[in-house]
Symmetry: C2
Subunit: 340 residues, 2 copies
Amino acid sequence: MDIEQLLFRLQPEVKQINQTMAAEFTSIKSSRLAQVVEHGIFNGGKRFRPLLTVLTARLVTYTRMPEGIAEEEELSPPPDLYRLAMVFEFLHAASLLHDDVLDHAETRRGKKSANQIWDATTAILAGDYLHTRAMTLAGLVGGEKSLALIGAATSAMIDAEFRQAQAVDETNLSEENYFAVLRGKTGALIGAACEVGALFAGADKEQRAAMRTFGDALGLAFQMVDDLLDYLGDAAKTGKAIGNDFVEGKMTLPLIYALAESGAAKRQILVDLLAGEAAERQARLQEVTAIIEETGGFAYAREGAETLISAALESLQTFKECDSRDTLQGLAHYVLSRNK
Amino acid sequence: MDIEQLLFRLQPEVKQINQTMAAEFTSIKSSRLAQVVEHGIFNGGKRFRPLLTVLTARLVTYTRMPEGIAEEEELSPPPDLYRLAMVFEFLHAASLLHDDVLDHAETRRGKKSANQIWDATTAILAGDYLHTRAMTLAGLVGGEKSLALIGAATSAMIDAEFRQAQAVDETNLSEENYFAVLRGKTGALIGAACEVGALFAGADKEQRAAMRTFGDALGLAFQMVDDLLDYLGDAAKTGKAIGNDFVEGKMTLPLIYALAESGAAKRQILVDLLAGEAAERQARLQEVTAIIEETGGFAYAREGAETLISAALESLQTFKECDSRDTLQGLAHYVLSRNK
C-alpha cells in the first residue's frame, strides 16, 4: 500500500478529526485568536499523530472483542476518541507555531507562517492557547493516566531540545546520547499518541506496552529518516536546504558514525570543519557527504531505521488482523519510504 | 496588618512553597533547562497566587471542622496542597517568561530577564516547560475539576490578551468591555487559585462560590489598582514608566470614564491624542492626567476597586475567624494600599 492509497483510505478519519478540531474553536471569543489557531491547525498537515491514536484504539478494541461479534469496519468510535486524538495535533501545531517564531521562519508548508501573517506575539500566544487546551482535554477526556503520559512526553520533548542545543558544542557526541535526544524529541509524543489510544480502548498491560513499543519505534525511525533526508534528500521535495544539519553543526547519526569509523585523516577533516565556520562547512558539504558515504554512515543509519520499523511491525503481530492493523503497517512502511 | 507584617507571618508557608517547587526541578535532565526554570521561579516574587491556594484551603478546612477539635494553627496541610498551589506560580512564571520575550524586556524584578541572560528560544521553551508541568500537576494532584478550572482560566487569559490588543484600536471602549478583558487577564487565574484551594479542602458549593467571589474580586481590584498606579504611581517604586498605558493607547478605566464624562472640548483633546502619535501622547501626559483627575476618573476607578475589596471581605465572613482568614483579609487590604 503506497502513501496515496493509505491517505485515500484514511480520508473519513481525517475528516472526523478535522471536524472535531473545528468545533473546539467555537468557544474562542477573540476573532483574531480564532483566526490564528485555525491557521495553525488547518494550514496543511497529514494528521499523522491523531490518526495513530484513532487507529491504535480501533485495533485494540477489535482485538479485545470476542470472535464473530462484529467486523472491525463496523466499529464506530465515540466522539471522545477524536477529542483525545486531537490533543496530539494541538500539541504538534503549538510547537510548530513556537518554532517558527524562534527560527524566524517565513513559511510553513509552503504558505506564510503565522508570525509573518500576524506577528511573534500573536504566534506565541496562539501556541500557548493550543497547549493549554490540549493539556486540559488530555486530562478531562483521557483521564489521569493519559494526562500523565502526555505531560511526560511534552516535558521530555522540551528537555531533549535543550540537550540537543547543548550537544551542538560536542563533536564527540555518543550514539547513546543521539538516541536519548531523539527519543525525547519525537519518539515521546508519537509513542504517547499510540499508548493513549490503547489506553482509551481498555488495552491490557501487554497490549498497552506493545502499542508503546510500536509508537516509540515509529517516532525514532521517522526522525532518523529525517536526518538522512537532510543529507540525501531532494530539496525540491523536502522543502529544506540539503546539508543544513551539518552546516549548523548538528550531530546526527550518519555523522556520528563517520566520526567514529573513518580513518584518522578523514576524521580530522570532519573535526576541523565542525570546529570552524558555518560558511566553510557549507562550501565543503559535498566532500563531507562523500566521507560519510564511504565510511558507511548513511547505510548504518538506514539499517538502524529499518531495524526499528521491523520491531514496530513485529509488535503489531499480537493484534488481530484487520483494516486498522493494515493501515498501521502501511504507515510504518511509509516512514521508511518517504522522500519528503 | 501592614504588608511587612503580613509577609513575616507568611514566611513558613512561602518557604514550603519554595521547597516544593525546587524539588519539582530535580527530574530535569538538561542542566541548562534546570537553570532557566529556576531563574524564572526564584528570581523574586511574593508567591501571591500559591499563598491564596494554601490559605483558602486552610480556611475552608478549619471552617468545616467541628468546634473544639483542633486550632487552626495546628492544621498541617499535606504536601499535595503545596504541589497544587505551586501550579499557579508555574503558570504565572511561564507567562512572565513569554511576556519578556515578546516585549523585548531587558529586566525583570530588577535583574536581567531570562531572554537577556540566555536567548529568546531558551526563555520561550522554559515557559513551555513550566506550562506543561503546571497543567499536568493540576490534573494529577487536583483532579479533573481543578484541571478544568485551571484550563479555563489559562485559556481565558490568552483570549483576553487578544481582545485587549484588538481593543487598542477602539477609543470608545465600553466599561463593560474593560471589565470583560480585566476579568480574563488576571481575575481568572487568581479566582481559580482560590477556588482550587477551596475544592482541595472539600468545600461545599456555597464555600466554593464564596472563595471564587473572593478571588475574582481580588484579582480585578489588583488590576484596577495597577491601572491607577500606571498614571499616579511613583516610578521609583513601581519600576515602570508613568503614563505608559496612555502613551501606548491602552484604554483603562480612568481614561474610559474621562472620555465618557468630560465636556466636549476636553473629550476632543483625548480623542485626538489617542488617534495621533505616541510621542505626542508622551509630551502631553500631564495635561491628560489633569483632565482625568478633574473629570473624576481616578476617584471612580479607586471607588470601583474599593467596592470590589469590600465584596471580597464580605465573602470571607461566612468562614470561621482564624489566622488564615485574618491573613486573607490582610492580603485584600494590601491590594488597595500597595504603591508598587
